[in-house]
Point group: C2
Chain length 428, copies 2
């Protein structure tokens, strides 16, 4: 297993060295992950990546290869190297469930243990959560815009090759139906799908020959890409080759609203009334919403999904909030940060609609009917707690959360957070 | 070694199945990577990731684990599985050197071989080049804005944990001086550096205690973070603890222009005339440029670097341009695509300033004085050619390229590509 231990910033290791030397390394600390604000105009954030993060914990090991590198570079001294070689996280991790919504100040992850064991996890925790949460939030907006039609993630080629796998997972969490990414299919058991590229048509002597080959190999339950030459002729060729039972055609260019309507009419006139129309080509949530009235059956989304649709990182930070039971907070400017370990509940009307999130420092909110506690245990004494939710469970959790917020929260336009956060007590 | 073979889209494997069955899989093909346009307002693109891509080629292997997955899922048939198990790329790859500039239509990578062996590489090639080129282009603008002052990459926490390592590499290619990412230090031998987090100060009973601990462990050649409580007091504490030989202080919040000037005056008044000032906190190329007149010694850049400073993907596509010697092109709409394998040169004035890039399809440009051929061999018959440039060489190449473009090309404002591309011949 490759170690994830060097997916870490230099300063964590030098802070560790100094803290080991001065004795503060063993102080009991609480670090919290939260966002000071949502990306401009966004109405909610989506917690994503927790499952990936927890599985990374077990390969966060300073093996001889990692330790030797740090010693050779003079980044740590011998006693720090020894400590790292023995490193196992022995503390606790709590947090919002994967798929939960978050708002400014929501304490989405709480890491407690000694300073030393918590500080070295900062970069890995933030990398995973910032990336995956950004992708999931944008993807959730696309799913909302699609109004029940399927959305297919096909953006792997537009992002880093490993980020692509994580992006496919986050998009699936957000309600996408499929991914094109094979590794995501294998690693996370996400349904995969694909059509064909223009190259496949160009490879053949004629479009008909390409379609005939695809149908011969993959059957009529395939999707033929009809826009390499002329779309209307492409559709005629597709139905001529596959017959009216062809599952779907894909259109990847041009004015998709006009083309979808024309293509539907043409398919119907050819008797292919059940043949679906899949559209793709620079679709984001706005382009998807603009196609709501058109006869489109599924959307393929690429670039916009994997870059978080304009917000490629979630703005999450990892802050020390408590040392040996005392709340601490950076004071050089007012960033609205509150010290102390937080407890969070979301309040709801009897109908189930969320009304506010209450976050209390160094205590717990006074209980009210229809409160839902937002934090749960992930790690106890360094070990994963049993029965952590799987990806399908998290996906359903997000679906329910999006039903619970006020309807304004699902608007694509810029606006305030869908649920206000009340931060109580403990301000230092 | 983990296989990279499933960092691939579903459709590549189904196209492969069909092409193997109908006999077109063995047709000789040329695929080209290019961008139809630069991100809005950008004046140049930077080729980055080539080195990473070429090293991925050797682990692009369909081992039993990969083949079994594809068979189990019914994505490929038995004969395709057999072909994949034996897969080795045996073709040629040529392209622009890593660190070279590119413009709309520049043929930055040319992959030739059978359809089968080239088509399966599409996603991996585009993922690597789209990500790394996007990061390098944004980072290069920051380096220009910094006007010779050092820029430190510290954005790992804002992007996917593996993308972070590649981003650190791309930023170094673009002229950044250091990264905070330890794995990038190990994997690519990039100089690493770090300061301290606010957590380290908060951990201690007093700021002085934190500074004293850091200096005791790391010496005076360290950087003290002075903005946890009060910056002026932080600077006094830093010099009181470390003396006027302290290497640097870092300021991570507030109005950096005002604070830099005040901090410089205060340091000077304390006799710390050589102590440097490092600033960080949401710096992009514009914020860096705005600090040009302030007494700043180095910039720490985070989020903006790893998300490509507003352009998180480079828009590169992988298109089939030639089949068995015939140029091919998608025709359903005019995207300005020209079929056929391209040859590219950049033309220069006798002074060395680039004047245009000439790209010729199915031939070569008529030679002119001061032409520079832009393509070189990377792979021949499936094997890497010897003496491929290393990262340091590519970094210097980019530095020279940026000197060669007209000065307008280095402006941060939106504008046309710095060098026009003339596309000649072969339009089909």
């Amino acid at each position: 297993m490759t170690s994830s231990a060097l997916l870490t910033d230099h300063y964590e290791l030098t802070m560790l060295s100094a803290a080991l030397r001065d004795g503060t390394a063993s102080r009991n600390c609480v670090f919290e992950v939260f966002a000071r604000r949502l990306p401009t105009g966004r109405r909610y954030g989506v917690v994503a990546g927790t499952g990936r993060l927890l599985s990374h914990l077990s390969d966060f090991r300073f093996n001889p290869a990692e330790v030797d590198f740090l010693l050779d570079r003079g980044i740590v001294d011998a006693s720090t190297a020894e400590w790292l070689a023995a490193y196992r996280f022995t503390g606790d991790i709590d947090g919002y469930a994967e798929g939960e919504l978050f708002f400014p100040g929501s304490p989405i992850l709480t890491v407690s243990g000694t300073f030393a064991e918590c500080v070295v996890l900062e970069t890995l925790i933030l990398s995973v959560l910032n990336h995956d949460s950004a992708i999931a939030a944008g993807a959730a907006r696309m799913v909302t815009a699609a109004r029940g039609r399927s959305v297919i993630e096909m953006g792997s080629r537009r992002t880093h090759e490993e980020a692509a796998v994580a992006a496919a997972r986050a998009a699936y969490l957000a309600g996408f139906a499929y991914t094109s990414n094979m590794e995501a299919g294998r690693r996370y058991n996400i349904p995969t799908t694909g059509t064909a590229a223009h190259a496949f048509t160009l490879l053949h002597d004629t479009e008909q020959a390409a379609f005939a080959s695809q149908v011969a190999t993959l059957g009529k339950q395939t999707t033929l890409l009809v826009d390499t030459y002329d779309i209307a002729q492409g559709i005629r060729n597709a139905i001529a080759v596959a017959g009216p039972d062809l599952r779907a055609v894909r259109i990847d260019s041009g004015d998709l609203s006009v083309l979808a309507a024309h293509s539907r009419a043409l398919l119907d006139s050819l008797g292919a009334t059940e043949t679906q129309i899949i559209v793709s080509g620079d679709l984001d949530e706005y382009a998807i919403a603009a196609l709501a009235a058109e006869p489109v059956d599924a959307y393929g989304a690429g670039t916009a999904v994997v870059v978080g649709s304009g917000a490629p990182t979630a703005g999450l930070v990892y802050k020390l909030v408590e040392v040996d039971g005392r709340p601490v907070v950076k004071r050089s400017e007012n960033k609205g940060t509150v010290g102390g370990r937080k407890t969070a509940v979301r309040r709801h009307k009897p109908t189930g609609t969320a009304t506010e999130e209450v976050v209390v420092s160094m205590g717990a909110p006074a209980p009210e009917p229809n409160d839902r506690a937002l934090q749960r245990a992930f790690v106890r004494g360094g070990a994963l707690v049993p029965d952590l939710p799987d990806l399908a469970t998290s996906r359903e959790h997000l679906r329910q959360c999006l039903i619970s917020i006020p309807w304004e929260g699902l608007k694509l336009s810029a606006g305030d957070p869908a649920v206000p956060v009340q931060m109580l007590g403990g301000s230092v």
